[in-house]
């Protein structure tokens, strides 16, 4: 083999790899909204079902990221208690969170509540664990730890109150899947603003409820638990539906 061309191949590979690397870093630090949905193999692998909507997938991904972050924080605090390690974990996490939300947030049905919630909750847990590790450095009496945990619980509940007051609603949207006598089976998306879990719900039937139509559903809030859909408020006729993005099958095809 020609040694010159071999070296040239190496050089060009290195150059393009470097370029790609820089692109990746630039993309990571200055994300732009993507038109392509994310791949998220790991998150997909978590569940058996493959027919997730992108909305659900992203929501689940955000949640898993946050849980991982919490677990790592817990491990750091429990094992070492050095505030520096917490920073080392948190900076990449926040960068990734920002990257992910900016880049793929537009695949969420309603982006803002998710963004506010995950930024808020991440910030709270970062501060909570940072404060805890600082408290640990001061090694006070055990009662101070409990007082601190109590204060964090209060802060968390205040945040929930704020979130609910700002973004909370008592309705959500769903898609009629099936009509049976006086009941309709409605698919409802994960909706953080209404605090409702995704899934199929049986609701009392209304006129014009036909499979494939988008409906507005009244939900009933329950303290410390997910809200439950109660009944259909409104049916959007197919031609005037602007909520087609809530239709799961469209996006998962």
């Amino acid at each position: 083999m020609d040694i010159e061309s071999f070296l040239y191949t190496i050089g060009s590979t290195a150059e393009s790899a470097f370029g790609k690397c820089m692109d990746t870093i630039r993309g990571f630090l200055f994300p732009v909204p993507s038109s392509k949905p994310p791949d998220l193999k790991i998150t997909r692998g978590v569940t058996e079902k493959r027919n997730f909507t992108f909305h659900e997938l992203i929501s689940l991904h955000l949640q898993l990221c946050f849980m991982t972050y919490l677990v790592v924080n817990f491990a750091v605090v429990f094992l070492t208690g050095t505030p520096l390690y917490l920073l080392a974990v948190s900076i990449p996490y926040f960068l990734y969170l920002r990257y992910f939300i900016i880049r793929y947030g537009n695949f969420l049905i309603e982006e803002k509540p998710y963004r506010v919630f995950y930024y808020g909750i991440s910030l709270i847990s970062f501060l909570a664990f940072l404060g805890y590790s600082l408290l640990k450095l001061a090694s006070p009496e055990i009662y101070h730890y409990y007082a601190y945990v109590g204060a964090i619980a209060v802060a968390v509940l205040l945040f929930r109150h704020y979130f609910k007051a700002t973004f909370g609603r008592d309705y959500t949207y769903g898609t009629v899947e099936e009509v049976k006598n006086d009941l309709v089976r409605v698919f409802i998306h994960d909706d953080m603003a209404a605090n409702i879990k995704p899934g199929f719900y049986w609701l009392p039937a209304v006129e014009e409820a036909e499979p494939g139509r988008v409906v507005k559903v009244l939900v009933e809030d329950k303290t410390f638990r997910s809200a439950r859909p109660v009944r259909i408020l409104e049916v959007y006729l197919t031609d005037q539906s602007s909520q087609s993005s809530t239709e799961p099958k469209e996006e998962t095809e």
């Binding site: 919490l70 909570a128 055990i142 945990v149 619980a153 899934g199 199929f200 719900y201 997910s226």
Partner: protein
């Protein structure tokens, strides 16, 4: 049919404080271990019924010595007391004499000790029942003062039915201190070197004697007698102003006062005096048995007064200034001599059967019983 993989908002939020709470497990467990080992250490170092008992022993010794001193001072400066053992007990417990608080006893009474001990035990997380010092003194404390032998007074102390619990309410100790029936804390004070309150008081402070034992403190079968024909032995008794321990001879009607009776100055052969005297004898026998003194020691304490201007320059003057004179017939045993000459009680003017004129001490006179006790037959 809901897909349950997503957590709702509230649960997601509450995970944060729950995880933090879980993280406190480490601190809590280390806190528990530390405080437990600390408590064990504290208990090992500072709490033990033995330590409390030792402490009580110390305070009893201190307070008993000080009480004895206070009482001596009081009798010398003021007057005889009615019941010396009771006054010593009151001094030790409450620091009062005839009901009047004595500054000498500040901080070293058993009551003070109890208050300090309760405070201390509270500070290391222990509770004591009873904790009220009045209640403690009234119902949980037994103090008995009495003569041990001629030259020693003793006190025996017991704390009855006390309960000590730790912070968790577990009983750490319940019962008496020292534990066991018939077990007491004893403290013994030697009276050697103290002034004899009786002689001082009777002669109104103009004449004094310090209690020092003679060459043979307890003349008798065991330790031998003084030699009636020895110049040295007689001079020891006349010139050294020392004290002898003598045993009563009730058949002859001769009773020798114990050291505590020398604080009281009561007529020993009066019914009241006899009751007190036999109480002291009984107490001293109890003490001697409890302390393992097998051959019973005498309790009476006596010295000889020889009204001779050559051997004792101050005695005659002192007698004179209290308006007394040397009687015609007397015994030199101090109690009888002073009761006879100063108080004018004729039943104390014992008939003398022997005097020391052989050795140039004609005023050293002894009655029959005392002569036998000192010189043998």
């Amino acid at each position: 049919m809901r897909r349950g993989y997503l957590l709702n908002v509230t649960v997601l939020l509450l995970i944060i404080p729950l995880l933090l709470l879980a993280a406190t497990y480490q601190q809590a467990s280390s806190y528990i271990i530390t405080s437990q080992s600390q408590r064990t250490l504290v208990e090992r170092q500072y709490f033990g019924i033995n330590n409390i008992q030792d402490d009580l022993q110390n305070i009893v010794e201190l307070s008993f010595k000080r009480a004895y001193l206070t009482l001596t001072e009081y009798v010398i400066n003021n007057n005889f007391v009615d019941n010396a053992s009771l006054e010593l007990t009151n001094l030790m417990i409450e620091g009062t004499l005839n009901g009047i608080p004595q500054g000498n006893m500040n901080g070293i009474t058993i009551r003070d000790w109890f208050v300090t001990t309760v405070n201390y035990l509270n500070s290391i997380g222990m509770r004591v029942e009873p904790s009220d010092p009045d209640e403690f003194v009234r119902n949980h404390l037994e103090v008995t003062v009495g003569p041990l032998d001629s030259f020693h007074v003793a006190v025996r102390v017991k704390i009855k039915n006390i309960t000590i619990t730790d912070g968790s309410g577990a009983v750490r100790y319940s019962g008496d201190i020292p534990p066991g029936d018939g077990e007491y804390i004893y403290s013994i004070v030697s009276i050697v070197g103290f002034e004899d309150p009786f002689v001082v008081r009777e002669l109104n402070g103009l004449y004094t004697r310090v209690i020092t034992p003679c060459k043979i403190p307890f003349p008798g079968e065991t330790y031998g007698y003084y030699n009636v024909s020895s110049q040295d032995d007689v001079e020891e008794l006349v010139l050294n102003w020392c004290y002898l321990g003598l045993r009563d001879n009730s058949s002859a009607g001769m009773y020798y006062p114990t050291v505590l009776e020398r604080f009281e100055g009561k007529p020993i052969v009066s019914p009241q005096g006899m009751r007190q005297h036999s109480y002291y004898l009984a107490i001293s026998r109890e003490f001697q048995t409890a302390l393992g003194i097998t051959n019973e020691l005498p309790v009476g304490l006596e010295t000889f007064l020889v009204p001779d201007p050559d051997t004792d320059k101050t005695l005659l003057g002192a007698l004179e200034s209290v308006g007394a004179s040397v009687p015609d017939d007397y015994t030199s045993v101090s109690y009888y001599f002073l009761k006879c000459s100063v108080d004018g009680l004729t039943e104390y003017c014992k008939h003398s059967v022997w005097d020391g004129s052989e050795f140039n001490y004609p005023t050293f006179k002894l009655d029959e019983t005392t002569k036998t006790l000192v010189f043998g037959n």
